[in-house]
Symmetry: D3
Subunit: 279 residues, 6 copies
Amino acid sequence: MDVNILKKVIKRFLQEDIGSGDLTSEATIIQDQSGTAEFIAKGSFMVCGIETVAPLVFTTQNPIIEITHACKDKTQASPGDELLVAKGPVLDLLKAERVALNLVQRLCGIATFTALFVEKVKPLPVRILDTRKTTPGLRMLEKYAVRVGGGYNHRFNLADGVLIKDNHIQACGTIKKAVTRMREKVPHTMKIEVEASSLDQVRECIACSVDIIMLDNMEPGMMREAVKFADGKALLEASGGINLDNVKEVAETGVDFISIGALTHSAPACDISMRLKSA
Amino acid sequence: MDVNILKKVIKRFLQEDIGSGDLTSEATIIQDQSGTAEFIAKGSFMVCGIETVAPLVFTTQNPIIEITHACKDKTQASPGDELLVAKGPVLDLLKAERVALNLVQRLCGIATFTALFVEKVKPLPVRILDTRKTTPGLRMLEKYAVRVGGGYNHRFNLADGVLIKDNHIQACGTIKKAVTRMREKVPHTMKIEVEASSLDQVRECIACSVDIIMLDNMEPGMMREAVKFADGKALLEASGGINLDNVKEVAETGVDFISIGALTHSAPACDISMRLKSA
Amino acid sequence: MDVNILKKVIKRFLQEDIGSGDLTSEATIIQDQSGTAEFIAKGSFMVCGIETVAPLVFTTQNPIIEITHACKDKTQASPGDELLVAKGPVLDLLKAERVALNLVQRLCGIATFTALFVEKVKPLPVRILDTRKTTPGLRMLEKYAVRVGGGYNHRFNLADGVLIKDNHIQACGTIKKAVTRMREKVPHTMKIEVEASSLDQVRECIACSVDIIMLDNMEPGMMREAVKFADGKALLEASGGINLDNVKEVAETGVDFISIGALTHSAPACDISMRLKSA
Amino acid sequence: MDVNILKKVIKRFLQEDIGSGDLTSEATIIQDQSGTAEFIAKGSFMVCGIETVAPLVFTTQNPIIEITHACKDKTQASPGDELLVAKGPVLDLLKAERVALNLVQRLCGIATFTALFVEKVKPLPVRILDTRKTTPGLRMLEKYAVRVGGGYNHRFNLADGVLIKDNHIQACGTIKKAVTRMREKVPHTMKIEVEASSLDQVRECIACSVDIIMLDNMEPGMMREAVKFADGKALLEASGGINLDNVKEVAETGVDFISIGALTHSAPACDISMRLKSA
Amino acid sequence: MDVNILKKVIKRFLQEDIGSGDLTSEATIIQDQSGTAEFIAKGSFMVCGIETVAPLVFTTQNPIIEITHACKDKTQASPGDELLVAKGPVLDLLKAERVALNLVQRLCGIATFTALFVEKVKPLPVRILDTRKTTPGLRMLEKYAVRVGGGYNHRFNLADGVLIKDNHIQACGTIKKAVTRMREKVPHTMKIEVEASSLDQVRECIACSVDIIMLDNMEPGMMREAVKFADGKALLEASGGINLDNVKEVAETGVDFISIGALTHSAPACDISMRLKSA
Amino acid sequence: MDVNILKKVIKRFLQEDIGSGDLTSEATIIQDQSGTAEFIAKGSFMVCGIETVAPLVFTTQNPIIEITHACKDKTQASPGDELLVAKGPVLDLLKAERVALNLVQRLCGIATFTALFVEKVKPLPVRILDTRKTTPGLRMLEKYAVRVGGGYNHRFNLADGVLIKDNHIQACGTIKKAVTRMREKVPHTMKIEVEASSLDQVRECIACSVDIIMLDNMEPGMMREAVKFADGKALLEASGGINLDNVKEVAETGVDFISIGALTHSAPACDISMRLKSA
């Protein structure tokens, strides 16, 4: 996660929330008043963004703001925990409050939700992956939260990973033709992943020496057969309809990866509030 | 919702997902191939963004794409319903797919979730409101989804509404002083809203002829007393900890508005998929 | 007025004036030479932007520049007064000079012009308001200058205030229909203002419990009747063709607000010059 | 004036005025309603921006809007004249109205004001010039208006013209040293202009074969001597304190150019209104 | 190569070259004059950008311009060949000319230079690769030119490929530790490439099951040993100091890839000129 | 060269190269590790950008980075020379490396190549000029490099210089008409340059009192005649097909300027590498 790219995005978020100015605070708060803002956990969750993102929101709003305490990402928070302390002009603490909270509540939510999946599949040698089903504009941050939660990232965007899906296969005629065309063009640094929804397709993939096979919406039974058939010749990624109830069963089929869109599109937000004390 | 502002945002979302290009599709799909993409509902939900947002994602990616069918926002979708049909270059249909889906799944989710709250409080004369607890970067869209769901918008940002909270009151000493300062500065087009967490504060607000009082985290009993006390002299907004289970009880207290952060930060995404047919 | 938003705008203004570089200064001034620039008033006027905007122009050009003196906005300047002192690299003082002067001369002009109107209506309980007739790109700054001059701001843009004009009324059929549609949609934090050009329309507005009525281009006599009729049931705003000669008469009709486009589109610029001394 | 650059600027202006949407119009105007907007002159003035800028504001807001009539820039308008007719969605006509009017009222004002100066000095072979004292963000447009009014442009910014002022002379020690350094660096396509405030400095400039001498705040008598002394060896530009009352006297001294900051910073805005008819 | 991203970049290039307008053409060319511009080859080279980039420069400047002929990229041009024909407003053809030519001359140069390397190594099963040594701001275009010339792309940026260099190895202590840390974090879609400058390091890489080994500045002899040792267990990429004279010898060592920074940083530009005919 | 404009461009270059983050370094380098990076010359060349551009790349990536040594631009480098030393977080040194090197290798190349031409024409009183044949996006930097190499800049863009070419002449009918139209419009600060490809055209230019004549693709013999004919009445600029072999002969014809597109489009890049030491 690059700080410069993050700053640019945060500036836009602040502008969205502040508009042409904070009418209420500018009218009621004295210009030079400084104070202390504290983030307090209102529930139990895995911390994410408190160490890295929230401080940047505050210092982007005003570089004078000092972060005197910030919980490390990946630590566990309990209700009442003081997660972050920021000192500086009250006006700027209030202007940055909502953006900072809206971001970290979501990031803590994703990290916490991811950690639940990771916990379920322990100690199996399988990785929990995210997808491109992220909130538009927040992909970099949400994929960071998945890593904090113990998950791994699938490709970041269409340009840094190859995934041949049914539409591509259909357009080329066969998996073989699609893979051949792909091999002709893809940078040598990238593996080729192909989506398969039947064992026949798994076989075809193996025949083409595909690097990774995405098992699309398969039943655990079929996945087990795919694992047996692949026998280490390709990495296997389970995908589609996986939740906290069935993730363990999927993991036990022997697949190498499990990708779950819900990590980013359906993680419940965590509750954090900001408390202000005058200096 | 202004189309020009929306387009600018969508361009950024497309760039986030496409990066320097779609490696897979550019290698496997023939440049000039055109086809038809269909959005299919995978569950029951209220449609939002299909009429207004998804078409703009496709035409922003390539103005040649034609939308030949799009469900009106606010209609009810059932599993298997064809929500949208887009015709054009397959390459661009695939490039726009993920952004379009990520947006509408979220927007349908918010509209559907809002409609549940709206339904619960019928036929009471109370409005369900959103808050500023929206996803950074998506506020305009998410507030649109709340309206589609039958809810109403609270202020859009810090510049277009006045809300005097405990921090402002504390900084000024008393509610009276805060309101007086506010009156000195606020445009005459805006009402003044003040947060109150006790009946004493409600009384103080009424004494200052405040336009709206936000009843912050009050028990229904206390709200009822506030309603009685206010007696039409100020509008009352209930806020804090309201969910589908208790929203009716809150509504029955007689408050005018109920604001619910969860509408935008915790609405579960709806499931929609895109199916491609060659032309 | 948010500093971050202001900075972004100032960067564009500097780029407009500097282009690919200052040919003359870069050729004739030694790179590391530092000096002192002084802003001197060449007339009598109300100071605006000297405390808040000019320093930001200089420090945006080069954060090393130090502002060692700056007159408070709202103070009265006389010819020869030293308004501001900036120390730093001569090259950057010269590059920022024109943008800083162009801005503050205009802002001082607006504040001074506004103050003339405010003075004229004293001690009547009426507020002088600006309009949206501001210079494109400078609205935030110009509305700030109006406040410095003792005036008040009307809505900032089309999104943070409701003003139903003749075109809207015509489109809906009657004022009543327009107000009803508006009430169905507008956030509860906003008052509803309607433009009326006859006493009949004023009556219709009152009947609809409109919050504010804009009396459009009415004669003082008609305004007085409107005031009598409204009798406190709605706020009244006089608008159209008001100048320094007739503003007092308008104020004496008893309206609550007088909005004047000329505050921002026709305030004469004040004269300020920059003097440079080598350090 | 390049259309692409202009469009980019207009987009920002529209966004400033529209914000997150036009609350009033979106609530009261039916989505698909189309109509006709007319710009009507409310006074006598020289037209500027009606042919070139206003149409671009409307089509930038919505490319569907059709301009069926637009007065040529540089024609003379009388009260009641129909300056422009635009047809399209009423919603977009209303959203673009204020930005279009704010721009053209200012541009007409500058063209009209410039034409007054040009008229005064006829038929003398002298050119009326603008300066860099333009409104930040509007330089390209305001310099266009000066040309429409019959004036000429001085340099656009610090990068496309050389003007050695007292500060540069002081930094170098003498005019000669400043000019020598300048000659060492300046592109061969540019003339060298030097500011002189005494006849001694004029002589020094001539001795250095300067291309243009700016006579800074000189009395007409001294200008006449400068003209005699220069005798065609350099172009002479009068500058400082020139207004409609004294411009003719200045022109008669025989200078080649007269530059006037007031053209852009103090031209009174012209009055134009928009009238809407439903289609 | 995504058209939308390309357009955005081209807009900036046009603005750099046009500035506030084309003084010469706007003064000498009649506004509505239309004409035909032809690109003529002044030498022999491989065409690149004529089909894809130049048309976009013209239509970005003015969408009215029609491209009636454009050579396909990858075809061979001879002196005098008509490469492209564009019809439209002469003013816009002239404004777009320099940017279009500056781009395609460079792209043709890179494609032509790349093709020379590709030719040299035929028919060996080795791929010619580019590097990140591209012109800042032009990477997407330059990497496209390499592909047109028959070469292949290495990673696009630091985010879409893994390359462990000496600095990373040194920071971790050993190749093994670096690779282990990397495996812990890298998306499963990416191969791991490690730089080796000795046979010992090659061995260490193989021991760690690295996917690709970059043989950094090795003599052909050493490369041959590396190939022998690797024996298909890893892909091998030769890098450093490779030119048209030695590329064949390097290819004959049996490496899989040869990466050459000179493809993009030292390809001589091709000569193309634009000829204008009035319509 | 304005630092603010440069910074904005550098941010884009860094984003192009870093994408969503540096996968390799973020995985293998410890977050807080700091170190020292050195730029080492791998050949003999004139330094350009080391003093001015490279430091800005590093501090734009992270303002904490300290530049403890940087060779002055215009000094001569020999193989092994330490050109620059930067201290700070290793992660940021690595992230900024490629952009910094890609820029300075190109800038050193241009300065060095320009200096070769300048050397060839010594001690003749002729200036070597660049053209607009620069790399799109890098014009400001490349024109700086030409100046460092001892050359001079032709106009920066179409807005800050007048050059009437054959297309303009053809559109107007005669040189005289083109010049007359131009004089009617051009700011008085600019000289008028006309392209001539025959002695007849040179005569026509002189007859029109053109300031500069560009001798387009003339043989040295014809240039000599042009010089004789012009006899100081106009400045002469030789252009077209000039290289290191014939530049001296061209210079000896007596022209005032020689413009060479190859300075910027064909200067070979210089070789510089970065070496990292842990602190």
